[in-house]
Amino acid sequence: MASKQMLRYLFRRFLFLFVTYVVATTVVFLLPRVIPGNPLSQLLSNLSMVAQANPEAIRAAERALMEEFGLGKPWYVQYVEFISKALRGDLGTSITFYPRKVLDLIVPVLPWTLVLLLPATLVAWILGNTLGAQAAYRRNTWVDKGVLTTSLVVSQIPYYWLGMIFIFLFGVRLKLLPTQGAYSQGVIPSLTFSFFVDVLRHYILPFLSIVVSAMGGWAIGMRLMVIYELGSDYVLFSETLGVSDKRIFKYVFRNSLLPQITGLALSLGSILGGALITEIVFNYPGTGYLLFRALTTLDYPMIQGIFVILIASVYLANFLVDFIYAVIDPRIRIGQEA
């Protein structure tokens, strides 16, 4: 199946994403060093100002910070150190949780984010596209108008605000579902059925807030694509040949879905951003929550580490989407511009 053209396409995409990733990590490296007022040295002086609390720990953190960012060395040495460490998986040491390693702190929270984000994104994508296609197929009926109007509004609701509303309605008012965390406080994670149910009950509201508000955007985009496709030559020709409506709709759905796949790749970043903030609203123990704590305590090594990993995962997901696209669209598989 995998033709030469497809491999070439995938290699090109990989190369591009790799270059992009190097650029992004370079930006992560450069930012604290070029922003006016040098935030790092400011952090240092902040630390020494509050040093009366625990001078020992503060000094250790200070050393760590100096070490972490290689301050005092020429910038290119710092850069090489940063990159080589990152490649070895060494993302540095946290300041807040000194002396724990950043990577060790991130790894346990990542699964929570993945478990929330991936299913929610996929479900929203599938539901939104189905809804949009149905609306386009019934263009100018009340179904279409209803879907379009609702989608236009719903797509503009930030995930986290919908989360707030859900917490208030289903958690506070109706008391149906828990309002925060990934599982009840005091419960020790275990592989039991009751724990699973507990996790599921905590999962519903954050999951739904992402699904509902992400769906609208896909529905709008898909509706537009299907409307375009319905007017295309192959649809008109198939009709005059007596190809069944059901089959034609399948054609249209399939061809409209292709650009939506690219759309998914492009919006992964903003979906991730929204999901992270949703975690904060739900006190959900994922990466977003960890990032929030790092931000409030100015734990720069941790912030950097989280970003190096998050950006990498966005690009990885991007590549996966590219791969799927190449498998589905023969024009790429066989090597013709779409």
């Binding site: 005059t240 040949l241 061809n255």
Partner: protein, 330 residues
């Protein structure tokens, strides 16, 4: 003798745009006979493409049938397809009894599946066994000069001329009696145009299709294959004549004007010179009164402005809608 395959009787088909109507096909009557190639000619905006949709009863809003009947020969009698709904006509006739070769054959095939798959879907829609139809398409592909291995390819791998031939092969797969070709050659270079015409004529010669309606603005192309001509102007049929007679002696001034504006690389054309019909085709929302051609006609008389000429047989097999002929007779 000649039997009609399709009859169009007093058809008016308008586009409804808000409160106004575009009278694209406005009181048109003619027949398509069995075994003939009927050429429909006219300038852009005269209603020829709308006519192809009317022949199929492929009416979608804003296009509506206002008046008239379209009859298609089924068995021994005629089926009034204009009284059926679009879905009904589609189910009973499209693909099987009548098929279209569209203007843009370039993109007419479903782009993201293999041609074989598409043909299988076509079979499925018509409840025909897959094996049977695959066997048929292999033969049909060879007949149009395509190697059957191309069935395993995607449409975008085909060149323009090949796509056009694949479209003919697929459109004629269920041996429709009537084939409607709507400006099928306009996107092709001349060499491929000729190949296309050859393939099309072979389809008829082999009896795969009975009759062909060929819609175009290019009289020189029609001249190669048409038996009779229908000349359309501003939503009306102005002349129906056998091709040779029309070339020898065009009746309607518009037909004459069209013929005299044809430019082909021939010494006769150079000697004849090229003429222009003054003015431009009218707006079909508010067409001129009387004969619609009168503002551009050098022979226009008073009656042309006031009364609408009917399409009347003036010689055997020749009809014209012009007072230059009918007034004398009357």
């Amino acid at each position: 003798m000649v039997e009609p395959l399709l009859k169009v009787e007093g058809v008016r088909a308008y586009y409804k745009l808000g409160r106004v109507f575009v009278r694209a096909v406005d009181g048109v009557s003619f027949e398509v006979n069995e075994g003939e190639v009927l050429g429909v000619v006219g300038e852009s905006g005269c209603g020829k493409s709308t006519l192809s949709n009317v022949l199929m009863m492929n009416l979608r809003k804003p296009l509506v049938l206002v008046e008239g009947r379209v009859l298609f020969k089924m068995g021994n009698g005629f089926l009034e397809i204009s009284s059926l709904g679009r879905e009904e006509v589609k189910k009973r006739l499209w693909g099987k009894e009548m098929a279209v070769i569209p203007q843009s054959a370039m993109n007419a095939l479903m782009p993201t599946i293999k041609v074989r798959k598409y043909v299988e879907h076509l079979a499925e829609s018509h409840n025909i066994p897959k094996e049977e139809i695959l066997e048929k398409i292999r033969i049909r592909f060879q007949e149009v000069g395509l190697d059957p291995v191309w069935l395993e390819r995607y449409p975008f791998e085909f060149s323009g001329g090949m796509r056009q031939r694949a479209v003919i092969a697929i459109a004629t797969l269920l041996n429709p009696q009537l084939l409607i070709a709507d400006e099928p050659t306009s996107a092709l270079d001349v060499v491929n145009q000729k190949i296309f015409l050859k393939v099309l004529m072979q389809m008829k010669k082999r009896g795969i299709v009975k009759s062909i309606v060929f819609i175009t603005h290019d009289i020189a192309t029609l001249r190669q294959m048409a038996d009779r001509m229908v000349v359309m102007y501003a939503g009306k049929v102005v002349e129906v004549s056998p091709l040779e007679e029309m070339l020898r002696k065009p009746l309607h001034p518009y037909t004459k004007g069209l013929l005299d504006s044809v430019l082909t690389p021939e010494p006769e054309v150079k000697d004849r010179g090229i003429t222009t019909i003054p003015g431009a085709p009218p707006n079909l929302i508010d067409p001129p009164t009387g004969c619609r051609f009168h503002p551009r006609c050098t022979y226009a008389m008073k009656v042309c402005r006031e009364k609408e000429p009917a399409l009347v047989e003036v010689e055997k097999g020749r009809k014209v809608a012009c007072f230059l002929f009918t007034e004398e007779i009357a």
